[in-house]
Assembly symmetry: C2
Homo-oligomer: 400 residues x 2
């Protein structure tokens, strides 16, 4: 079986283990190493309150090359003041010391509970052990993916191999994210590796675009966390000539990267806290591009729509209500809405749809809600998931 | 026992009965009549998709005097096209015919499911019966309150009597509202009566202000419905000299009206779908007045905060996350948060609070979350409620 983990691209080794942050004994420390050095880029939360590792990582990612990335789960190192900032740097420092590289060339991320200091001695000990087991095996790639999980029920991974001028380029990615997922940064942690050789500014541009149409289009509860971090590292070892903007290979790279990130976004929607199914909202006929996205999110974030999806209920009234309440321009006499391919509301009038048939469409793992605002020519989309009793259970009982 | 219903102010009779819209057999038709004619004002949903009765009522409320108001529950008469508009007018017409008044002087509202035509023959028959039982009794006032309910578990009523120059002025109100309650119109239906004599423009101004600091400060799921309507009718029979803007009585009237509407808002929060407790969010130190309200709503609307309140969990990290994600200006080094009177986060650092003690505060029927943004001098507030499994149950299983 081909390696489907972040160690699939040439030039990367990884490790994942339990170092003691999580009481459950599950993996909580992940390490990625690129011995030849990687070009890197990252996208971060826009939450005004950002965690210590975000502050450190923002600075480190400006360096070139980047050699490693370290991530812990179980503790977000957020709202932890100067001490938290120091421990985030200690994480990088320990990795650097073990791998004999510079601490400024290590990326760092944390995810988990807010407001508690990291158990840094456990983490530094874990980093020491991680270095010993670094491997390009699929098993270690999977361990990395598991070690960044919090309330996720399964590891999320996606890979794509494509060809540029006879060279096989691999892109691989893993992410974690369950609750607290919303625009503008629909993940807590996402790590992408590739062996495609590409210039650093182009890598950053392609990554920002890919996250924009994938993770940033996913909304679970409409909020972004203090820790959201997505990073990409390129070893450039695939053998291709460095991709430049005018190359046809650049479009291929962008498409492949968007596909991989889009795949992760769907996995995250389906594994959102308590989620049993997901849906895509497509808005057509918006007066402005940004209004199309705003309207899509208004539907995907609306608890009453999310509950209706959970109940497989073709309650288009709630969709219309969400749209009307979103503040976007629309033609109140010509609004239309489809669930799957079936019009449930057309030119602002209910249709005589078969409720059982539409309910069956909603019952699937994934369906599409399409709304035509009839106010212009712009369109956009986003992904959402249902709201279940389980979401409440998880989030009412996850005590601080 | 004093009459605590909307028939308490002088000059009003009411009725409430089951006419056949609701399958449950519960009351679904409410009629209010002011034989001497009333000054009236109303506030409506700002949802771009408005129900037929909203369109009709917006027009009728411009007339003076207003003699009656008719409300049905069980069917919203929303997204029902021209036919829906016609039936809303038929409702007014039937009331007018029975009471020998003009149809344009009747206010109308509907609440319930969206997208189904009203069973208008049942409603007109019900109006005929309602007229026969109109009474100023407390029992009929209560029946009116019950007849506007949908998923509410109890009738919501509030009254206040105060004195202006030796004349007892009474304000009484009832409202319904469970899910689909959000800014800018935190109710589906609210009917207020008073016998205080006040000029019509002042009545409108006082009402808009009162709704602004009460129902519009309540958020259950952040959305406003297609039908939200709040109306006030003044018979002017209390005997006071007509209140004018410069009178001290105007401030008294405004305060009493705000108190009554605020009382309703709290009742609505506590009876929100699945809610077990409510909370008030107070934002201090905002750079702008509107940012204070925006931040307050960001917290009250955030599902993770609502779940934490449900679990009586002092999870201040989620509060901080909601604030940081809201886009308002704040000092990231000087953010503070109190639950009740206890600081859980001060100058952007967690405090050593007693978790059990704070959990006990959250467990109460009502508590206050106070956040100081340290970015300016403005403050504002809103009300929210917890998010329970029961909310999901109600809204996943309430089939169209």
């Amino acid at each position: 079986m081909a390696n489907k983990t972040i160690t699939a691209p040439k030039g990367f080794v990884a490790a994942g283990l339990h170092c003691g942050v999580k009481k459950s004994g599950k993996p909580d420390l992940a390490l990625l190493y690129c011995p030849t050095g990687a070009k890197a880029a990252a996208v971060f939360t826009t939450n005004a309150i950002e965690a210590a590792p975000v502050t450190v990582c923002r600075k480190h990612v400006l360096n070139n090359p980047i050699y490693a990335a370290v991530v812990n789960s179980g503790n977000a190192n957020a709202c932890t003041g100067k001490k938290g900032l120091a421990t985030a740097k200690v994480m990088c420092g320990k990795v650097a010391k073990e791998l004999q590289i510079s601490a400024e060339k290590v990326l760092v991320a944390s995810t988990g509970i807010i407001g508690h200091q990291l158990p840094i001695t456990k983490i530094t000990a874990g980093i020491g052990k991680s270095v010993q087991i670094l491997s390009d095996s699929q098993a270690m790639g999977l361990n990395f993916a598991k070690a960044i999980m919090t309330t996720d029920t399964r590891a999320k991974q996606a890979t794509k191999v494509f060809d540029i001028q006879g060279h096989a380029i691999t892109i691989a990615a893993t992410s974690k994210g369950a609750g607290m997922i919303g625009p503008n940064m629909a993940t807590t942690i996402c790590v992408v590796t590739t062996d495609g050789a590409i210039s650093r500014p182009l890598l950053g541009k392609a990554f920002k675009n890919a996250i924009g149409v994938s993770l940033n289009r996913l909304t679970v509860d409409g909020h972004q966390s203090t820790n959201d971090t997505a990073m990409i590292l390129s070893s450039g070892l695939a053998g291709n000539k460095t991709i430049k903007k005018q190359d046809s290979g650049y479009r291929q790279f962008c498409q492949a990267l968007s596909t991989v990130c889009g795949d992760l976004a769907k996995q995250m929607a389906l594994d959102a806290e308590g989620a049993t199914r997901m849906f895509k909202v497509v808005i057509k006929g918006a007066a402005k591009k940004e209004e199309a996205l705003k309207a899509a999110r208004a539907i995907a974030d609306y608890d009453l729509v999310k509950c209706a999806v959970h109940g497989a209920d073709p309650n288009w009234g709630r969709i219309v209500c969400a749209i009307g309440s979103s503040g976007v321009k629309l033609d109140p006499a010509k609004l239309s809405c489809k669930i799957g391919d079936i019009f449930v509301f057309r030119n602002s009038k209910p249709t005589n749809f078969n409720a059982n048939e539409v309910s069956r469409i909603i019952s699937k793992k994934e369906h599409t809600i399409t709304v035509d605002l009839n106010a212009g020519k712009f369109q956009d989309f986003c992904y959402g998931c249902d709201l279940s009793r389980e979401y409440v259970h998880i989030n009412a009982d996850y005590h601080t």
